[in-house]
C-alpha cells in the first residue's frame, strides 16, 4: 500500500453549468506520499477547480481522482484543505475553529482537546486559543486555518493560494513556517499559488498550467536540498524560467481574446 501514490488524477476535466468554456481540460498527474507539489498558472486557468475535485468538493465531468488508492467521492478524512481567505468561522474562537472538524467526526472531548492543543502548538498559536478570528492578524488567521487542517492529521494537505492575501513580509515568514511544519509532519501537499518564487521555494514538483481552459503544459522538478533559502540564485533562475513561460501563455491568450473581440465587434 505504501508504494501507492498519495494522489492519482487521471484525465479529470470540468465544465461548469451554464458556462460555455471548459474550466479545466483533461489533466493527469500523481503526487507521491509526502511530496510537495505546486500548481501555478494564469488566473482563471482552473487551479481552484482542480483542487476542488481533489478535495471532493466538486465532481469531475469525466476522469478519476484517487486518493490513497481509493476513488474520491466526497470530502474525506485523509484530505484537508486551506483556503486563500482562511475561511475561519467568525463566531468561534481559534480553539473551537480548530476543534470543529473533530466535532463533526465525533471525536471524544478529551482527545479533541489534546489534538487541538498539539495543532495550535505546531503553528505557534497556543497563546491566542481563546481569541476570535477578528482579533487576529491576517498571518495568524492563516496559521489557524492551517492548524484546522493539520488537526485532522491529513495524509494529503490541499492549499489554495493560502498566503496570497498577506503582505510580503508576513508571507515570507509563513513560507518558512510551512516548510518547517511540512518537514515535521510530512503530508503530501498540493499547493496553488501565483507566486513563482514561493512555488519554487516550497516544492518538490511544480506543474505549470496553460491559460484557461487549463492543462499542464510544463513540469519542473526541484531538487534543491532543504531547508532552502529564498534568496538562492537557483530559485531566482527557476522563477525567471517560469515567468517567461507564463508570459508566453498569457500573451497567447491575450492575442486569442483580442481576435475574438474583433470578431464579435464586427
Amino acid at each position: 500500500m505504501s508504494d501507492q501514490p498519495a494522489l492519482r488524477v487521471v484525465d479529470a476535466c470540468k465544465t461548469y453549468e451554464r458556462s460555455e468554456h471548459a474550466a479545466l481540460l483533461p489533466t493527469s498527474f500523481e503526487v507521491a506520499r509526502g511530496e510537495f507539489v505546486s500548481l501555478v498558472g494564469p488566473s482563471g486557468c482552473g487551479k481552484s477547480t482542480l483542487l476542488g475535485m481533489i478535495a471532493g468538493l466538486l465532481a469531475p465531468d469525466s476522469g478519476t481522482v484517487e486518493a490513497l488508492g481509493k476513488p474520491v467521492t466526497g470530502p474525506g478524512e485523509g484530505r484537508a484543505i486551506v483556503f486563500q481567505d482562511a475561511a475561519l468561522f467568525p463566531w468561534l474562537s481559534v480553539f473551537h475553529n480548530v476543534e470543529y472538524g473533530l466535532r463533526a467526526h465525533k471525536v471524544p472531548k478529551a482527545e479533541r482537546r489534546e489534538r487541538v492543543e498539539n495543532a495550535l502548538g505546531l503553528v505557534r498559536l497556543d497563546h491566542v486559543a481563546d481569541k476570535h478570528p477578528y482579533e487576529l492578524s491576517g498571518g495568524m488567521r492563516q496559521r489557524a486555518s492551517i492548524a484546522r487542517a493539520l488537526v485532522m492529521q491529513p495524509e494529503i494537505l490541499l492549499m489554495d493560494e493560502p498566503f496570497s492575501a498577506l503582505d510580503a513580509q508576513t508571507r515570507t515568514i509563513l513560507q518558512d513556517e510551512l516548510q518547517r511544519i511540512w518537514i515535521e509532519t510530512q503530508p503530501a501537499v498540493v499547493f496553488v499559488t501565483h507566486n513563482l518564487i514561493e512555488a519554487a521555494f516550497l516544492s518538490d514538483t511544480v506543474h505549470l498550467l496553460s491559460s484557461g481552459p487549463g492543462r499542464i503544459v510544463k513540469t519542473y522538478d526541484i531538487d534543491i536540498t532543504r531547508p532552502r533559502d529564498e534568496a538562492d540564485p537557483a530559485l531566482l533562475e527557476l522563477r525567471h524560467d517560469m515567468l517567461d513561460r507564463l508570459r508566453a501563455e498569457v500573451d497567447d491568450d491575450v492575442e486569442r481574446r483580442a481576435q475574438a473581440a474583433e470578431v464579435s465587434a464586427l
Binding site: 483556503f83 475561511a87 472538524g101
Partner: protein
C-alpha cells in the same frame, strides 16, 4: 511629563474631560430638538395658532400626566407592548424556522419564497378585515396581524441570509466533515445570525406598524392605538399628541437601545467590525 506616567496620572482629568466632551456631543446632537421644542413653545405661548389645532407643550405634558394617573395609560401601554412582543416573537420564530427548513432545498425555496415575497408586497394591515372575520373583533385578530407582519420579512431575511453565506465557509465546513443537522446547527445558523439581527429590526419595525394600524381599528381591547383613536374621535389633540409622545419614547428606546446594542454585540462577536 513622561508618556507612561502621564497615562496613569491623567485618568481623573481624562474622565472629567470625557464627560465634558459627552455633554458637548449631546448638545451638538440635540440642538435641533431643542430648537423645535422652543419654536413649539413660542408659537403656542404667543397664541399664533389655535390651541385646538396645536396645544402647548405644557398642555400635552399635563394631559400625559392625567392619562397615566386617571386613565391607566400604563395598562394600555402594557397591553400594546405585550401584544407587540408576543406577535413579533411568534413571527420571528416561525419565519426563521421556515427559512432554515426550506432554504437549503432549491425546490422548496423556489416554490415558497415568491409567495411570501408576494404577500410582503401587500401591507399586512390589508389582512386585518380577514383576521377580524376569522378571529373576531378582539386582541387575537391584532396579535395574528402582528405575527404575520413579522413572519414575512423574517422568512425573507432568512432566505436572503442563507444565500449570502460565504461559499468558502460552506466548503470549509463540508471539507471538515460537517453535514445534515450538524451543519445546520453549527454552521448555517450561526453564519446567518448577523443578517438575522438586521432582519429582527426590520421585523420589529413592520410589527410595530401593523400593530398600531390594527389597534386604531380594533379599539375594543386596551392598547395605545385605541387611546389615539379615542383622542381623535373626541377631538382631543392633546391626547393624540401625548400618546404619540409615548409611542415615540417606546420606539426610540427599543430600536436605539435594544436593537443597536444587539447589533453591535453580534457584529463585534462575528468580527464584522472591530477587525483591525
Amino acid at each position: 511629563m513622561s508618556t507612561t506616567a502621564g497615562k496613569d496620572r491623567g485618568t481623573a482629568a481624562t474622565v472629567s474631560r470625557g464627560i465634558g466632551t459627552a455633554m458637548l456631543a449631546l448638545l451638538r446632537k440635540s440642538w435641533f430638538v431643542i430648537a423645535l421644542l422652543l419654536l413649539w413653545w413660542i408659537v403656542t405661548a404667543a397664541g399664533w395658532v389655535d390651541p385646538y389645532k396645536l396645544p402647548s407643550p405644557g398642555d400635552v405634558l399635563g394631559t400625559l400626566g392625567t392619562l397615566f394617573t386617571e386613565r391607566a395609560l400604563l395598562t394600555d401601554l402594557g397591553a400594546t407592548l405585550l401584544r407587540l412582543v408576543e406577535g413579533w416573537a411568534i413571527g420571528v420564530v416561525a419565519g426563521v424556522v421556515l427559512g432554515l427548513a426550506t432554504g437549503r432545498s432549491r425546490f422548496l425555496e423556489e416554490g415558497i419564497r415568491p409567495v411570501i415575497a408576494g404577500l410582503q408586497a401587500v401591507p399586512t394591515i390589508a389582512f386585518l378585515p380577514l383576521a377580524i372575520l376569522w378571529f373576531g373583533f378582539n386582541g387575537t385578530a391584532v396579535l395574528a396581524i402582528v405575527a404575520f407582519g413579522t413572519f414575512k420579512p423574517m422568512a425573507l431575511a432568512t432566505y436572503g441570509a442563507m444565500h449570502q453565506i460565504s461559499p468558502t465557509l460552506l466548503m470549509a465546513g463540508e471539507a471538515l466533515g460537517a453535514k445534515g443537522f450538524f451543519m445546520q446547527r453549527t454552521l448555517i445558523f450561526p453564519a446567518i445570525v448577523p443578517s438575522l439581527v438586521t432582519g429582527l429590526k426590520m421585523g420589529w419595525s413592520f410589527a410595530w406598524r401593523a400593530l398600531m394600524a390594527a389597534e386604531i381599528v380594533v379599539t375594543g381591547a386596551a392598547g395605545l392605538g385605541g387611546v389615539l383613536e379615542l383622542g381623535r374621535e373626541i377631538g382631543a389633540i392633546d391626547v393624540v399628541m401625548a400618546v404619540i409622545l409615548v409611542i415615540l419614547v417606546v420606539g426610540i428606546v427599543t430600536e436605539q437601545l435594544f436593537f443597536t446594542r444587539l447589533e453591535r454585540w453580534v457584529n463585534r462577536r462575528w468580527g464584522l467590525v472591530g477587525a483591525r
